[in-house]
Amino acid sequence: MFQFINTILIGITAGAIYSLMAISIVLVWRSTRVINFAQAGMALLSTYIGYEAMVHFNSFWIALPVAMIGGAAVSAFIELVFMRLLVKRSSTGPIAAVAPIIATLGLLGLIKGVISTVWGGADVRLVGPVTNVGYSIGDKTLAFSPLKLLTLVTVVVLMLLLTVLFQRSSIGLSLRASAYSPEIARLSGVKVDFIRTLGWSLAGTSGAVAGMFQTINGNGAFSPESIEFSLLLITGFIAAVIGGLESLVGAVVGGLVLGLVISFVLMYVSGSLFFIAPFVILLIVLIIKPQGIVGTKVARRA
């Protein structure tokens, strides 16, 4: 029973981070119809920016917002300088649909190259503000620590903010309308180009939080080649697909489902499946339910 509860706690915390990554993938997809393979690279770069702030100010509470702002800025820059040009240049012909997606792969390499040049290839370390030692009940230790609690609270707060932004503000209304049909939105006076850049920077922010918390929930060390960040892309993508790729709520549900499934597989099947389970789940989801497990099943976009 105790192991069962621990498995759930581990799954939820991991799933919350996957959700953030899924949200950034969904935000980019909704605003520009691009699957951004560079998302993990951008999260990594944001985490390095957060690390830099940590070195200077020695405070996670400064490093986190700096990483978020850095993530937003990097993301907005990429949308403005690369994606806008790419989408415009590839608007006709058979390559139109794939060019921007392939380009994000190139972008991923470029970002890693930039990171290696600036920070070198060796591991750097980021330490969380609170301990990751689990709370104990009697003589047993829960797989839930102050750090995990902080992770959950941060993720929930960020999601609430995003939900309020999307559902209650006019900017959010423009974001939703532009996602549904950029042409009609434009005709109705929405500045769709600005809205796209905004969608990307929100994605960058969300990815930055995912990167920071992924790192401090692990052993804190990361490098340009960190496997954790490659896994973050895969898990984020799976969560987004499970969620139907269109909705933020779907991304959150997808992240939690994925976190729990992986946690149970690792605990009850085999811990050595860590690098295999996510990929198997991705393939299963794509084969059985390519339209997503939650959210609307109707493909509404032409």
Binding site: L165, S170, I171, L173, R176, I184, G189, V190, L198
Partner: protein
């Protein structure tokens, strides 16, 4: 013809798609509070002209005058700021938003709040103003009761009402209607006629329409397009008797 005070005037509009000339040296003008119809057989270039006015198609040549001032042809997302609103033939509502939200989108440019306060969702004042105006716009097209419905659950005539409400909420000085009566039954057409006549008290209306009885009853001036050129213009009576118009319509079997 020489009035500099026309609400909107274009001259020499030429549009080609590849080698095909879709519009050739087209002109028209629309005065304040005037209802002007663009008619012509299928493929005459009516929609292309509408698209050129909305920045959806780039004209090769042509001059554009708004309130007598020459300017470049508008960019699509700038249209509403210039006081021009357009409905689409295919209606074009945002299916996964509510009716009220659909209309509110048309009033986004009224929000003066910057990004930061919007991100913090603190633009409640703007928000309420836009919401209120959107409700009024819906009432105007007798669709107030639909406000909370999802747009993709509406009947076709209702989507047309909502599309017009979305155009109206931006308080345009020029309203462009793309086949407002298309696909409507007799009763709804009558209602649309009445609405268009009422609207002309506040704005100029430019419409493309196939229903001749609608055109004849609401338009004070018509331009007839055929093969991308203006072949006739004037009052409904004048145009109706114009041999060139009769030939164009008979020639295409209409």
């Amino acid at each position: 013809m020489s009035t500099n005070t026309a609400a909107l005037r274009v001259e020499g509009v030429t549009v080609s798609f590849g080698g095909l000339r879709a519009l050739n040296d087209v002109y028209f003008e629309i005065g304040r509070h005037e209802v002007v119809g663009l008619i012509g057989p299928n493929g005459a270039g009516k929609t292309t002209l509408f698209n050129a006015l909305c920045g959806l198609v780039q004209p090769d040549h042509g001059t554009f005058f708004l309130d007598g001032k020459e300017s470049a042809f508008p960019r699509t997302d700038n249209l509403v700021d210039l006081g021009i609103a357009r409905t689409l033939q295919g209606v074009g509502l945002f299916g996964d938003l509510t009716v009220l939200e659909n209309v509110m989108i048309g009033a986004q440019h009224l929000a003066q709040t910057g990004l930061i306060s919007a991100a913090l969702a603190r633009n409640g004042k703007d928000e309420n103003r836009i919401r209120e105006r959107s409700r009024i716009a819906l009432e105007r097209v007798y669709a107030g009761g639909l406000a909370e419905r999802r747009a993709d659950t509406l009947s076709y005539p209702d989507t047309k009402r909502v599309a017009i409400a979305r155009a109206l909420v931006s308080e345009p000085s020029i309203l462009m209607l793309d086949e407002p009566a298309g696909g409507l039954g007799t009763q709804d057409i009558e209602w649309m006629n009445l609405l268009i006549r009422n609207l002309s008290a506040q704005m100029s209306v430019l419409l493309v329409e196939h229903h001749m009885d609608v055109v004849m009853s609401v338009c004070s001036k018509l331009y007839v397009l055929n093969f991308g050129e203006v072949i006739s213009s004037g009052s409904a009576e004048t145009v109706r008797r114009d041999p060139a118009v009769i030939a164009a319509y008979l020639g295409t079997g209409a």
